[in-house]
Amino acid sequence: MAVPEFFGTIERSGLSTWIRESPSLFAFYFILLLHTVGLALAVGANVVIDLRILGVASALPVKPLKQLFRIMWAGLGINGATGVLLLIAYPTKSLTNPVFYAKLFFIAFAVIVMQRIDARVFGDSSVSEASMIARGKAMAIWSLVLWTGAIAAGRLLAETFKYLTYADILKGKA
């Protein structure tokens, strides 16, 4: 499979070069740090909602947990922005690795599941807590599975690559 020349154009841009090559601690590693904080906020909030639906802390009222969705969206927002920056820094590394697409797949489905939990479990204020819980069980399990998959794919993405940069391909390093 030919790697598009376009990746090389991105990598030669000022922003991409700065994130990738700057020795500053506020370049690549700061973006990576924010990406981790975003992960902790988004998935941490999700896990608490999922565990509660699955019966942990069953004396805890469910409805106030709706506020946790705001934390989740904040985390997802941070990770969307930092994810794009990391992609600009290493387009060839990410886009030539199948693990990258697996990670996006897991995140997309996890977010869809969480929106369904928000709508089906928390959206209808006329329903009793017991029926709120009953509606969410299967979705909560899916949510945990998909987020675990997203973290696994993210960790694997950090450790694996086929080509690091477009320049490497040109130099025949691949």
């Binding site: 740090l33 004396a59 106030p64 973290i151």
Partner: protein
């Protein structure tokens, strides 16, 4: 101050504390009061946590000693093996103590198996920790050496135990550059991070006054999940350290992360032993927590953030500290 100072400063506490804890637990049998037992369990949990920085600093001290011709390498290696073996028993005893403390907190009548199981685990830990202390003492005190020159002399029991010691060199070879060891370790470390931050985060935010509609008592049921996350991360973190110690020892961010974790321990002690936890324990929906509780919850959240920040900077800041040299 160097790694050897730090190691000498830290290494006596877990050994002495475990022996005291074992004595208190043994005394508590046949007495009606549960205070002795509680104290012993808290001591085990605390020494399991203190054993970790003692162990970590030992790696720095070892690298320093490897260049000192006056210290036989065989003695250092024997001490390292003894330390690694006793550490896992210490952590197991600490974890068991935490489980029993949690259970006794929830039900007034603890199960029968609790105390004897902890006692047995503590007995093994005391034996192995004492051996760690002895083998360590021989390194720096030639006058107590039973062995002559570079020979390691141990009794029959010590030699038997030696066979069960982990071999860090083999493990390092397995970790370094091996995606299928390093990958799962870091994956689990991130899962633990999410478990801790999610559950502790909600509890701290509630005490600080956000999410105020949540009553506090049922939120405590998330604490075992936070403890499970902490357990996963202590184990995976120690394995990562043992696999590639040089990278961590020379990183300023690593020691700042350890300092943040130590301060979190102080934070937890302040919360549970000053009675503040009892004052917020039964907060109902909509009730405000007192200011000291809010400050403790807020500083805990900041410290967890610091743990993530410094953890992320271990790699770029490795080699910021001079390699330990004699």
């Amino acid at each position: 101050m160097n790694y050897a100072h730090l190691h000498l400063l830290l290494n006596h506490f877990p050994i002495v504390a475990t022996i005291i804890g074992f004595g208190l637990l043994a005394l508590s049998f046949g007495r009606a009061s549960s205070d002795l037992r509680q104290t012993a369990l808290i001591i085990f949990a605390a020494s399991a946590l203190l054993a970790i920085p003692a162990f970590l600093s030992g790696f720095g001290a070892r690298i320093m000693l490897s260049q000192d011709p006056r210290v036989p390498n065989a003695l250092v290696e024997r001490h390292e093996g003894a330390a690694m073996l006793s550490l896992w028993f210490m952590e197991t005893t600490g974890a068991l103590a935490m489980v029993v403390l949690w259970r006794s907190h929830r039900t007034s009548r603890p199960a029968r198996w609790h105390a004897p199981v902890v006692l047995l685990s503590a007995l093994l830990t005391v034996g192995l920790m004492t051996r760690t202390g002895n083998t360590g003492g021989e390194i720096r005190h030639p006058e107590v050496r039973t062995s002559q020159g570079a020979m390691v002399m141990e009794g029959t029991l010590g030699s038997l135990v030696h066979a069960f010691e982990p071999t860090p060199e083999k493990f390092s070879q397995a970790v370094v550059g091996n995606l299928w060891v390093w990958g799962p370790l870091m994956f689990l470390h991130f899962v633990g991070l999410v478990l801790i931050v999610g559950t502790v985060g909600v509890l701290d935010l509630r005490i600080m006054g956000f999410l105020k509609q949540l009553p506090l008592l049922p939120l405590h049921r998330f604490i075992p999940w936070a403890m499970a996350g902490l357990g996963i991360n202590i184990i995976t973190g120690l394995l990562a350290f043992i696999g590639t110690p040089d990278r961590y020892v020379t990183s300023s961010a690593f020691w700042l992360k350890m300092l943040s974790l130590l301060l979190l321990g102080v934070n937890a002690v302040a919360f549970y032993l000053t009675g503040i936890s009892e004052r917020v324990r039964h907060l109902e929906s909509g009730e405000d927590a007192p200011m000291p509780a809010k400050l403790i919850a807020g500083s805990a959240l900041l410290l967890w953030l610091a743990v993530i920040v410094f953890g992320r900077y271990i790699a770029p800041l490795s080699d910021t500290l001079p390699p330990p040299a004699y």
